[in-house]
C-alpha cells in the first residue's frame, strides 16, 4: 500500500551541489514557460537533459514527492480540519493507519509514541471537510468502513500563535512556503487557522 519508508539519515547525501542549486531554483515553483527545464538549466549552468535527469532522480529518491499543482486547501473550500488521535493496540496500528490513509479526506496519518500515563494515543490523522459537520461525518464514515473500535479524541484547532518559525535550513535555502508545508506535515493545521 502507500506506506513509505522512514526518512533516513542518508537523505542529505542524496543531493549534491548541483541538486541543491536546482532545489533553490525550483522551491518557489517551476518556470511557467514552454521549456522550463531548459530555462532552469541556463540558470544553473547545466544542460536541459541534465536538469530533467536530476529531477527524475530526486523523485525516485523521494526528495521530491511529486511535481505539479499545489493547492491552497482553503481556496478550494476545505475549511475544516480536525486532528483525530487514536489509542490503537501496537499490533493493529499499521493496519489501521493504512486503512485510514486511503480516504480522500485524510491528508496526514502518522504513528507517534504514547506518552503514558497522560497521553495514550499512538495514531494521529488529519481529517478535512468543507465544514466541521462534514469533517465529523467523514470521521463517522471512516470509523464504519475501517471498523474502528478504539478510543479516540477529536482536536479542532482554535488559534495559531506562530505560523512560521526558523526551521532548520539546509544549504539550499528552503522558502517559507516549503517550510510551511513541512511544519504542516508535523503540526497538521494551516487550514483551519487560515492565517493567509
Amino acid at each position: 500500500m502507500k506506506k513509505v519508508q522512514q526518512p533516513d539519515k542518508d537523505g542529505v547525501q542524496l543531493l549534491d551541489e548541483q541538486d541543491k542549486a536546482l532545489v533553490g531554483l525550483i522551491q518557489s515553483g517551476l518556470p511557467i514557460c514552454s521549456r522550463p527545464y531548459q530555462s532552469l538549466g541556463e540558470q544553473a549552468g547545466i544542460a536541459e537533459e541534465e536538469v530533467i535527469a536530476r529531477l527524475q532522480k530526486m523523485q525516485q529518491t523521494g526528495c521530491i514527492r511529486r511535481m505539479g499543482v499545489i493547492v491552497r486547501h482553503r481556496e478550494l473550500g476545505y475549511r475544516a480540519n480536525a486532528m483525530v488521535v487514536w489509542d490503537v493496540p501496537d499490533e493493529k496500528v499499521s493496519e489501521m493507519g493504512r486503512c485510514m490513509s486511503q480516504f480522500e479526506f485524510i491528508t496526514l496519518c502518522y504513528r507517534r509514541p504514547r506518552c503514558l500515563p497522560d497521553w495514550p494515543y499512538n495514531l494521529f490523522c488529519m481529517i478535512h471537510g468543507h465544514s466541521r459537520e462534514e469533517a465529523m461525518q467523514n470521521l463517522d464514515e471512516m470509523i464504519g468502513k475501517c471498523k474502528i473500535e478504539y478510543k479516540h479524541q477529536v482536536l479542532f484547532s482554535r488559534r495559531c500563535f506562530k505560523q512560521r518559525g526558523a526551521v532548520y535550513q539546509p544549504e539550499a535555502s528552503i522558502s517559507d512556503s516549503v517550510k510551511s508545508e513541512l511544519a504542516e506535515s508535523f503540526a497538521f493545521t494551516k487550514i483551519v487557522s487560515g492565517t493567509r
Binding site: 502507500k2 506506506k3 513509505v4 522512514q6 526518512p7 542529505v12 532545489v23 525550483i26 515553483g29 517551476l30 511557467i32 514557460c33 514552454s34 527545464y37 531548459q38 529531477l55 527524475q56 526528495c63 521530491i64 514527492r65 511529486r66 505539479g68 499543482v69 493547492v71 491552497r72 481556496e75 478550494l76 486532528m83 499499521s94 493507519g97 485510514m100 480522500e104 496519518c109 502518522y110 509514541p113 497522560d118 497521553w119 482536536l155 479542532f156 484547532s157 482554535r158 495559531c160 500563535f161 506562530k162 505560523q163 512560521r164 518559525g165 526551521v167 532548520y168 539546509p170 539550499a172 516549503v178 517550510k179 508545508e181 513541512l182 511544519a183 504542516e184 508535523f186 503540526a187 493545521t189
Partner: protein, 149 residues
Amino acid sequence: MQFDSLDRNIINTLQKGFPLTEYPYRDAAESLGTTESELISRLQSMLDEGVLTRFGPMFQIERFGGAFTLAAMKVPPDQFDSVAEQVNQFSEVAHNYQRDHDFNMWFVIATEDIGEIEAVIEKIEVLTGIKVYNMPKLEEYFVNLQFAV
C-alpha cells in the same frame, strides 16, 4: 475564483504529477485536451489569484536533513498567552497552535541534529515550568495529498 471544467481538470490532473520532458506544458496540455498557451495562462491566473500555493515540486523535506518533532503541552488556560510567548521565543519552534483539549498547545521543533531536540525541550520546560511531551513521527501512512474540485 470560479472554476470552469478546464480549471478543475487542470487542478485534479496536475496534482498527480507533471511531465519531465522538453515541452512539459505542451505534453500536459495534450492529455488535458487543451493547448500549451492556454494551460500556461490558466496556471498563471490560478497562481495570481492565490488558488495555488505554487506550481512545481512538493518536497519530502525530511530528506534534506535536520530533525523534527511534534511537541505538546498542557498549559493552564490563564497562562496560555504568556507561555505561548515564552515558547515562541525559541527559533527552533514553528507552527504553534492552540487546540481544544487539555493538551492545548501543539508545536513543531526543528533542529539540525536529533540530539538538539531534547535540549530544546529541556530549555522550554525550565523556562515555563511545564512538561513538554515529545511525539516524533514513528511511521507515516501515505495519503494522496490531493483535493478534488
